[in-house]
Symmetry: C2
Subunit: 337 residues, 2 copies
């Protein structure tokens, strides 16, 4: 069967194309209820699917949001994406997904693509702060956006962020309270501000117990398992620390593997604390103590704020609170080194 | 700055709106190269972003694909999604993502939504076979589609599937060759055809070694960790089997946990084989032997076939081959029960 057009509907209902268009776009002031009823009835009878392009030309709304994340394969992001998509779907928005690999040129390309697709808003979980050229582009195209997970809370941006300083603090407090004094951390890339926020909180908690973090105890990772596995070797072989705080769970997985290979028992010989509480974290044996964030809810909240921005031009930011989840991978040190 | 329209470009270049539109939509036959050049130059100067709605009305192309999957939080799907998005992006398509939770009514709703968005094609990784009402809807809307991961290879559909029968066979062959005679399996939902394909291949391999699979050795799971963890308890406590084949890696994670709690050593007391080879599989200690599928490549291939369908109306199907990856979780049984 051929697809019904507005023209066909108009003919069938015995009204003008303009009338059908007004019904479609809910601009029915002055129209008789009977006429409106007639048009709607025909649409229903033929299961009419309005043409999004035609509707878009009138409403200037695509009912699509864009989500830019570094990489859906990183286990943090499926949860975020699911939260965003669920909320968007309930509000009758579709979601275009973009993987930027944290590369500035890919982000720019996606921004352009999303502008071409006339998205109604963009959820950014990709970079710390928008470059001014990107911001100009978005403002010229009048596309509202919101920062989630990555970035700094700023007055002129909506954002949904985690209190990363507090997360780092909770991890440090937990380990020092257990009696650890020699502690290392495997941090994320220094170029990402959440790394520095977590480190600052962690350092502060240690300082409160008189524990210092020397530069050799700060190891830069890339949030991937492989590098954490490789880089923890030296640290574990020297046996200079009794605890490690990994800045995400996936890097904690890498430390587990290296500890296993070197015959180091977790938690008897080594305590480990992760970050994120990704779903597969309970697969680790022993189960990982970690700093939990409500990633799924953050995704949902981001869409809510974006819609507020879109509909009421309200700029609003939410800071989520991380929590400590104590499981089996952290305990008091056997020896106080 | 105000957004440039086709009208502005026409005025600036001193040509008609039709001319600009023809350049935009690459219908430049009969146009002088000089005119074309002039229009392109103005567009470049003002960094012109064509309005997708206006372009869509002419080309009838949205340059968007839809991807329907059960759930991005299931660790199999981020890899698939990444493959799909990378290939789509290279071909200058955007990707709308939809989580159906394997619910028929959600799938129907997404189909309708994607039709409204005028997507150029749909990649389905959601159900075994399209209901005839869905197929009618897609064919009425002239939206080409392709089945990936789930479904049956059929003449009139394009599809990218795994040879699941072979995957099951490889797992069975590996375990019987190691000398296992008492083997159980934790399968996926029986309503999904790939479950039955894997089971059939597995059963055949066992039969070739004279090993029978009794109904009590076939445990139905849901591809999630929790249920596999719960349901493996009875099986492991009875100590009636020396090996378990889990129909995906995530369920193997659940068996690991239960074995750990019951003091059963892997692989000395129990061999385990998984399926998929998801990225986090190497986090398990000991590392999991599994049946690998090239999920990322399957995603890329699905987009290629969809574009062939779209551009040349070619229907084509590809069957991927699974491979056995032997790691540390499988060995010869200590006792031949």
């Amino acid at each position: 069967m051929r697809r019904w057009t507005i023209k066909d509907i108009a003919k069938q209902a015995g009204v003008s194309i303009t009338t059908v268009s007004r019904v479609l776009n809910e601009k029915e002031e002055g129209m008789s209820p009977k006429t409106r009823e007639k048009v709607l009835k025909v649409m229903e009878e033929v299961d009419f699917q309005p043409n999004q392009f035609a509707r878009g030309l009138v409403t200037k709304r695509s009912k699509i949001f864009g989500l830019i994340i570094p990489n859906i394969s990183n286990p943090y992001f499926p949860e975020l994406c699911r939260g965003v998509e669920d909320e968007a779907n309930e509000r009758e928005y579709s979601l275009i997904i973009c993987n930027s690999d944290d590369q500035s040129d890919k982000e720019k390309r996606y921004l352009r693509l999303l502008e071409e697709q006339q998205v109604d808003g963009i959820i950014f979980s990709a970079k710390d702060s928008l470059e001014s050229s990107d911001e100009e582009q978005l403002s010229r195209a009048k596309i509202p956006f919101i920062l989630v997970d990555r970035g700094k809370s700023e007055k002129n941006h909506s954002s949904v962020l985690l209190d990363n300083d507090k997360g780092g603090y909770l991890a440090g407090k937990h380990l020092t309270e257990l009696g650890h004094r020699k502690i290392a951390c495997i941090i994320g890339p220094k170029s990402i501000s959440l790394t520095n926020d977590r480190l600052e909180g962690f350092r502060r908690a240690l300082a409160e117990s008189g524990v210092e973090l020397s530069p050799s105890q700060i190891i830069e990772g890339d949030f991937q398992m492989e590098m954490a596995y490789q880089k923890s070797k030296d640290l574990l072989m020297k046996k200079e620390v009794t605890a490690i705080f990994a800045f995400n769970d996936v890097m904690a997985f890498g430390v587990y593997r290296m500890a296993h290979e070197l015959g180091i028992h977790i938690p008897r010989d080594l305590s480990i604390v992760g970050f994120d509480d990704i779903p597969l974290v309970s697969a680790l044996i022993p189960m990982l103590t970690t700093i939990r964030q409500d990633t799924y809810l953050m995704g949902r909240e981001a869409v809510k704020l974006l819609i507020q921005k879109l509909e009421n031009n309200e700029t609003q930011s939410i800071m989520f609170n991380p929590t400590l989840v104590v499981r089996e991978s952290s305990t008091s040190p056997k020896l106080l080194l």
